[in-house]
């Protein structure tokens, strides 16, 4: 109540001041008129794509085509991925800004109040393209509405050196954690340990620790999203195994690595495998002369990708999921919906998907069959990224509380503590306490 009153007071003050300063209002009015007179404009905000060719395709080909087909103007803006969230917050609070904004992961839940339901569009897409993966659904839909339109997943996979794995007799990538541990032990003995961070770093730490926890059958909370369930036999098992795995097969200096350290370590040939986006491989493709193996061959011929190994409870992954939100404040919601429909039409979306060369995996099943995946076998494992994906907060919803637990690195710290020598039971108990603080609030 108090809030509403204050709001109206501001409005009153606002209009009074606007009247008082007609000079300024006049300037604004003249500055604004042309904008209203124009054809409808849809402003689409996205990250600056990791694959430059895709942005060029959007700007030079897809957007002009959409403008022609739909009779609207499209303002295509790209910003540094880190600036997406600040821009979204400011846009919502100031009530102006892009009509469509790209969201990363479960940030959709943060902005759930301020977006338009896209259920009809999303369900339609799912029907056409063989169903939306559970992962994308859990992030884009809170069960009542689609807060955003699923776009694609930027997969995280283990990049590994084929020749070094061959040397220790692993001709295909280990299927289970136990096998992986055995192989890693031999690799470390050869001077090529596995590199994995357990530090407070946004990308590479949680994309490893969460799927690892799930694959052992552990989970943060029950499906009700309230009861903290981390303190289980399965979790304790996983923590114990991690401590051993670390000692046996990992580079022990990696405990506090950030997202870029493992790229450099891999490229400078100090580690044999690491969980990462496709960026290491891309880098070696881009500069084949610079990155070579110890035998003098191009490193890009010696890199393969694999999903994380399976545990007793299955095989999982956690990736960067991108989706587009249609904002409630937008004055062009109909045009924006039309545009979303257009860009998700198979023939248009395909152009973009092909330009990504496998770095992005679409959120519907149909695309697994696409020929892109057969063109570069090294990228092929990424085709199942979205299928194996699961969202943080499992078995509950990936909502704000899940995001808070993620940003506090509770799961990651639980493993890091055990690796540093804390008994597994104590580490799990500590995590339980921290999670309870969040979920009981």
């Amino acid at each position: 109540m108090g809030q509403t009153k204050r709001r109206s007071v501001i409005k009153l003050a606002g209009s009074a001041a606007a009247v008082a300063s007609t000079g300024m209002a006049g300037i604004l009015a003249t500055g604004r008129t042309p904008a209203y007179a124009q054809t409808k404009t849809v402003h689409w905000l996205r990250w600056v794509d990791f694959v430059p060719a895709s942005d060029t395709l959007m700007r030079k080909e897809l957007m002009p085509q959409a403008e022609k087909d739909l009779g609207i103007k499209i303002n295509f803006e790209t910003v540094n991925g880190n600036d997406l969230q600040p821009r979204t917050t400011a846009a919502i609070q100031s009530g102006t800004g892009p009509d469509l904004i790209q969201a990363f992961n479960n940030t959709t839940y943060i902005y759930g109040n301020s977006v338009v339901d896209l259920s009809d569009l999303a369900e339609d897409l799912g029907k056409r393209e063989g169903g939306i993966y559970k992962y994308a659904r859990s992030i884009c839909s809170d069960g009542k509405m689609f807060m955003s339109m699923p776009w694609a997943v930027i997969g995280a996979m283990i990049a590994y050196r084929k020749s070094w794995f061959d040397e220790v007799g692993a001709t295909s990538f280990p299927k289970t954690w136990q096998e992986y541990r055995d192989v890693a032990k031999k690799l470390k003995a050869n001077g090529h340990p596995v590199g994995q961070t357990l530090g407070h770093t946004f990308g590479d730490a949680p994309t490893f620790t969460y799927p690892y926890l799930w694959s052992w059958g552990g989970k943060e909370v029950e499906a009700d999203g309230k009861t903290v369930a981390i303190n289980s036999k399965e979790t304790v098992e996983s923590v114990k195994f991690m401590a051993g795995f670390w000692k046996d097969g990992c580079d022990e200096g990696a405990l506090a690595w950030d997202d870029t350290n493992n790229n450099r370590a891999f490229l400078s040939q100090t580690i044999s495998a690491t969980l990462n986006g496709a960026s290491i491989y891309i880098e070696t493709l881009r500069k084949p002369d610079q990155y070579q193996t110890e035998k003098g061959t191009p490193m890009n011929k010696d890199i393969l990708h694999s999903p994380l190994p399976a545990g007793p409870a299955g095989q999982y992954g956690m990736h960067l999921l991108q989706s587009d939100m249609l904002m409630k404040y937008s004055k062009n919601q109909d045009a924006a919906k039309e545009f979303l429909k257009w860009i998700h039409a198979e023939k248009n979306f395909e152009k973009w998907f092909v330009s990504q060369k496998g770095f992005a995996t679409p959120c519907t099943a149909k695309w697994e069959e696409h020929k892109v995946w057969t063109e570069d076998p090294v990228m092929a494992p990424f085709k199942v990224a979205a299928r194996l994906g699961q969202a943080p907060g499992y078995a509950g919803l990936p909502n704000g509380k899940a995001a808070e637990a993620l940003s506090k690195y509770i799961v990651t710290d639980m493993y890091a503590k055990a690796v540093q020598g804390m008994p597994a039971e104590d580490a799990v108990k500590w995590a339980e306490g921290e999670l309870k603080k969040i979920y009981s609030a």
């Binding site: 003050a13 402003h43 990791f50 600036d83 100031s94």
Partner: protein
Amino acid sequence: MIEGALWRRWVFYNIPLALFVFVLLFPFYWMIITSFRPDGELYRPWNAVNYMPFWTNHPTLEHFRYLFEETDFGRWMVNTMFIAATSTLISLFCGVLAGYALARLNFPWAGSLGTLIFITYLVPQTLLFIPLAEIIRDFRLGDSPWSLILTYPTFLIPFCTWLMMGYFKAIPKELEECARIDGASRWKAMLYIVIPVAVPGILSSGIIAFTLSWNEFIYALVFLSSPQEKTVAVGVTSELIRGDVFFWGSLMAGALLGSVPVAIVYSFFVEHYVSGLTGSVKG
């Protein structure tokens, strides 16, 4: 000063001074060399054999071309210039009048008002921007340069007021009194006698205000959204960084060009700038 032997002069003065100048100016040299370097040379690891940090044999204008052809850099410069100039003028107008009143007029609470204006300088920007975003929405200023032109004075006015107070205090009271005896009104005495004398002070507060608004980042980052409305600092940071990859060549070219206008303004008025700084110090 008392300096003594030649070697002492070198050890105690010339060498340390040269070191200071080197360290203070090196980053600018680094900007320049980076912006002219071709990518192939730029992305050589520091421990590569052919890493050649201080010189390039293949200077290129490629990064500048990218800046002007692939981004709205020209627009950003114009925007920043317009926003900085207008908000400086507004702040000067307010600051000069307020500074005059606080320094030369007797009225109740003059002292506490001066302190109050100083305290507004302490209010953290991060606390203000959410409420400001709502004000901007209610005034319908979102995504327009006016959202910055009207908010920048919040930190420029306290600064200008304090600087001008210092200047006005330094002008002898008699000057005004003579004019008043000759029959000039208070208003006229201020406008035609005192303010002209204070022009150097006004100039230096103006230059400082201009550099401060050119420097501003948070509000510009949060309040502007369309690519063509951005300021240099925001445009360069948000569009020349791609994932984990920085376009270092263009980034440095942008930083260099983005610094030129303030550097020019300042090189013309360096004396005023220095006296402005020291004026604020004595105020």
